[in-house]
């Protein structure tokens, strides 16, 4: 598990370049992929998924604005903390309250 505390485990996508080396108009050729930039360090609340309560309705996956609900074989498998912003939409939409939002760095943090 990556350390997502501010300033820790944070890596720049590329080495800093001169202005002459930059692609035109700030374009990212090949497309900017999520693994190039870990943005989960902005989060102040952390969603904790309780697998035993989960009924696999995938509402959280449909509503997550940051594509941070992880899915395998059409089943919810957890949260991508490298990119999750802690907005709480998943916890709000979950019909069986299987997701708790806890303060980052708080005692209740499960991971």
């Amino acid at each position: 598990m990556a350390d997502t505390r501010p300033g820790k485990g944070y890596k720049l996508a590329v080495e800093l370049k001169s202005w002459k080396e930059l692609p035109i108009g700030g374009v990212v050729p090949g497309g900017a992929k999520p693994d190039m930039n870990k943005t989960g360090s902005w989060r102040s609340l952390r969603p904790i998924w309780n697998e035993e309560k989960c009924i696999q309705c995938l509402q959280c996956w449909m509503h997550c604005p940051d594509d941070s609900i992880e899915i395998k074989d059409q089943k919810m498998t957890g949260v991508d903390y490298d990119h999750c912003k802690g907005c709480g939409v998943c916890a709000g939409i979950c019909p069986v309250a299987a997701i708790d939002m806890v303060p980052e760095g708080g005692d209740k943090c499960a991971r």
């Binding site: 108009g25 374009v27 090949g30």
Partner: protein, 387 residues
């Protein structure tokens, strides 16, 4: 073939020949007619352009940005408040280096609300990163619409380009215009090759990413380099235009009876024509007066203008908009051009023609005459204002 048409029709004809893939427009006086003519071309099957009638100018420029990033050749047209609403996105278009072509029917910004000509809209977009050209006549508006598109799309440039034409004075008055035949115009403008088009799904790219303090500055510097490439490209495109059409536009500005002039007016837009009449009258009376009419306003051709005015004793720079709390924007640029020169003419700044106020040859002969005995000049002077 010579034809009789308004400035709007001339610009619409040039746009028809350029035939952009997408044109996104919202109607605003005095620009609306350009879009109306273009809609007619689309309706009559004369162009294959996707005309997008949007719900505001903010959306018009946003649609242009999207379409240009997707890989299309894109154009639009606006005026005054419409441009003001576009400006936010125009900065983004320039930073994304999208060669969007735009006609700007110059009209005073509110308030008070006024639909007539001045250059406050063009000045508002002065620092956005778009190329700006000013036309004196419907003919120039036509020619520069073709030239500016080719210029904007050049590899080292790739910036939005605005062609300014004075609202009503040029847009709605009928003049003699000689458009090129379609084949020649199309051949001159050529095919457009986008870079990193979003629709090329085999080669994905991300446009408009976030840039933090570690990259924003470098990206802006790269944008400066694109602007710096414009003057040379501008002259090359003028030369290509001359070769393709026999029409000679040479240089960043037009000098009229300038070579031996002691007193000179510097103007942009349709007032260039008025100034020529004033210059001719005084020349007939033996006075050494001349005119410098700016075509390329952004990037500003500092050195070329200082060279062209090096021999002149007195220069009156005419600004058709107020930059509140400062000298006029054109005056500031001309003054900056002489910053590091030993020999400088005496400069005066006149504000004229705000909100469509008429400026006549008599006004300008008076300016040229009073310059003769004028002392050191500080502050703004006004033409055609009731005291």
């Amino acid at each position: 073939m010579r034809k009789v048409m308004t400035g709007h029709k001339a610009v619409a004809e040039a746009m028809r020949q350029i035939e952009p893939n997408v044109m996104a427009v919202y109607p605003i006086t005095p620009q609306s007619e350009i879009a109306e003519y273009y809609a007619e071309y689309v309706h009559n099957g004369k162009v294959k352009t996707e005309l997008v009638p949007v719900e505001s100018e903010h959306s018009a420029m946003s649609a242009c940005v999207g379409a240009a990033a997707a890989g299309g050749r894109v154009m639009t047209a606006t005026a005054s408040q419409g441009l003001a609403l576009m400006v936010e996105i125009l900065y983004i278009a320039a930073s994304m280096r999208l060669p969007i072509g735009m006609a700007l029917a110059n009209r005073a910004l509110s308030g008070p609300i006024n639909i007539h000509c001045d250059h406050s809209d063009a000045y508002l977009a002065r620092d956005c990163g778009a190329i700006q050209v000013f036309a004196e006549s419907a003919q120039e508006a036509y020619d520069y619409t073709l030239l500016a598109q080719r210029l904007a799309e050049r590899d080292q440039v790739r910036l939005p380009a605005i062609v300014n034409l004075d609202g009503f004075t040029l847009t709605h008055s009928v003049q003699v215009v000689e458009p090129l035949d379609d084949e020649r115009a199309k051949k001159f403008v050529g095919e457009y090759t986008p870079v990193y088009p979003l629709l090329d799904v085999e080669n994905p790219s991300t446009w408009g990413p976030f840039a933090m303090p570690d990259y924003y500055f470098e990206l802006k510097r790269a944008q400066v380099a694109a602007m710096e490439a414009v003057p040379e490209a501008f002259l090359e495109v003028q030369k290509e235009y001359e070769q393709a059409t026999g029409r000679a536009y040479r240089g960043f500005f037009e000098g009229y009876r300038l070579e031996d002039a002691d007193r000179v007016l510097v103007v942009m837009g349709s007032t260039g024509g008025t100034a020529k009449v004033a210059v001719d009258e005084l020349r007939a009376a033996g006075e050494k007066v001349g005119l410098l009419k700016v075509w390329l306003y952004r990037p500003f051709p500092y050195a070329a203008i200082a060279d062209a005015l090096a021999h002149v004793k007195q220069v009156a720079v005419l600004d058709r908009a107020v930059s509140f709390g400062a000298y006029g924007a054109l005056y500031s640029d001309v003054a900056t051009a002489f910053m590091h020169r030993e020999r400088r003419p005496r400069l005066a700044n006149y504000i004229y023609g705000l909100g469509g106020r008429d400026t006549t040859p008599e006004h300008l002969t008076r300016v040229l005459s009073e310059m003769k005995d004028a002392g050191p000049d500080e502050g703004l002077r006004y033409i055609g204002l009731r005291e």
